[in-house]
Amino acid sequence: MSTLTVNGLSVRTEEERALVSDVSFTLPAGERLGIIGESGSGKSLTALSVLGLLPTGLRATGSIRLGDTELVGASPRTLNGVRGSGIAAVFQEPLTALDPLMRIGKQLAWPLSHHRGLRGDALKRGIIEALAAVALPDPEKIARSYIHEVSGGQRQRVAIALALACNPDILIADEPTTALDISVQAEILELLDTAVRERGMSLLLISHDLAVVSRMTEHLLVLRGGETIEQGATRTLLTTPAADYTRLLVDTARSLEAYLPEVTAPAPRTENHS
């Protein structure tokens, strides 16, 4: 398990326009950090920088270290080693991570054989176990299916299974439930929560939805227009935000929530890593 340390990360276009400016944060092993921001905040570019997957034409500077390994400017070989066993990702649109022409089981076979050395019957069992672990019903049938044959929520479960198959230390989830129905969202968040807890992974959760992030993480980083607005403990930021912008986000979310009948909201996660 290693700590992810991002220091002075900037992302610029070829014309030297800064899309992310001097962003720093630390994600210690086993902890959970949420990045919250609106469109254009740079939250997804920050995640893609960590994965070494920035779109062509964008360049990251600064430092991103996973344990002792520097990822900014690292060779494709180093990055490939890190992606998968070190860091895995789940995105908003599961189809971006999944091959429409390959049966779901076959897609899972590669990471399982590559990262865990599974072969033959052990590999077959591993595939079924990986699908069962994300609570997919009838994993044998899902393994034989193509991605267009399963529902949106099930696709995201398959994408999560694919990410978990590598046994990563860190899971990056970029708007993992934004494209899903609200009742499915609750299930996927529950699944991510359990998976991260049981495997002792770190979680970097990126979202525009304050309620989602605060349910899942104990620390928050607020980005706007590529710049850091504020960071700190989730509970502190929600109750006593220092920045006007954070207050605007919190007040907006609360004002909409105020129209709903009160429920006993689950307590936010606290700093307890036992």
């Binding site: 609106e38 609200i182 499915v184 609750a186 968040l189 349910r215 919190v250 609360r254 929530e257 429920v263």
Partner: protein, 266 residues
């Protein structure tokens, strides 16, 4: 049902070539000035109901009634009256506006195509009025959609919907594509719909049928709510009652699934 402005009367709908109905016996009626929310998840049939209420397709069984009379898609004159009374706003403010038309031209389009106003000066005056009603500067009329943010584009789309002085606006997820910080502004605008518009008398607020997956937005805007699941309305009633005391298990599931912020005083 003549007291209703627009109503789906026991409407069922089946897409050609499908083995089963998409909508089953939908009854949903809107009085003038009433604000009704239609809540459901993907595949529930929300968009299909909207399509039928907008007169873009005909029900397989049952009828859509406008001021009590079945909507006849072949009656062109009747449809013109219908279109000036019932307007719509879509989810995607980027796709809803013609990128090559100035904002003024987009906003005045319903007035021209419905033959309500042809005089250039009168159109310009009405556009200024509408821009004021949605809190956009008057010079926005001469600019093009690309110069505006998502929230501003949604204001433009709302101004266009208001142009013919409609009695009802059908809004399909009007804030889902917008950032949180502009969402509340658009909700406030929809709350005051038609009130800041000189063409709409004060005592006649514009009605709203709000289609959304988001119960909090429906709660913010609607007097009444209908919950749609798998092509059926499973629960319908005053918003406050349905939210406080949901009768159907599906309504309870939807309510429970909404992620909440931890409370401030804890």
């Amino acid at each position: 049902m003549s007291e209703y402005l627009l109503a789906a009367d026991d409407v069922s709908f089946r897409y050609p070539g499908r083995g089963a109905d998409t909508l089953h016996g939908i009854t949903l009626a809107l009085r003038r000035g009433e604000r009704v929310g239609l809540v459901g998840e993907s595949g529930a049939g929300k968009s299909t109901i909207l399509k039928l209420l907008l007169g873009l397709d005909s029900p397989t069984a049952g009828a859509v009634r406008f001021r009590g009379a079945p909507l006849n898609l072949r009656d062109r004159a009747g449809l013109r009256g219908f279109r000036s009374a019932v307007q719509n706003v879509f989810q995607d403010p980027y796709g809803a506006l013609d990128p090559r038309a100035s904002v003024g031209r987009s906003i005045s389009e319903p007035l021209r195509s419905l033959g309500i106003e042809r005089d250039r000066a009168a159109l310009d005056a009405r556009v200024s009025e509408l821009l004021r009603a949605v809190d956009l500067p008057a010079d926005a009329a001469d600019r093009y959609p690309h110069a505006f943010s998502g929230g501003q584009r949604q204001r433009i789309a709302i101004a266009r919907a208001l142009a013919p002085g409609p009695q009802l606006i059908l809004a399909d997820e009007p804030v889902s594509a917008l950032d949180m910080s502009v969402r509340t502004q658009i909700i406030e605008l929809l709350r005051g719909l038609g009130r800041a518009d000189a063409a709409v008398p004060d005592d006649n607020q514009t009605g709203l049928l709000l289609v959304s997956h988001d119960l909090s937005i429906v709660a913010a805007l609607c007097d009444r709510v209908a919950v749609l699941q798998d092509g059926r309305i499973v629960e319908q009633g005053p918003t406050a009652r349905v939210l406080a005391d949901p009768q159907h298990p599906y309504t309870r599931t939807l309510l429970a699934a909404i992620p909440r912020l931890p409370r401030a005083e804890e």
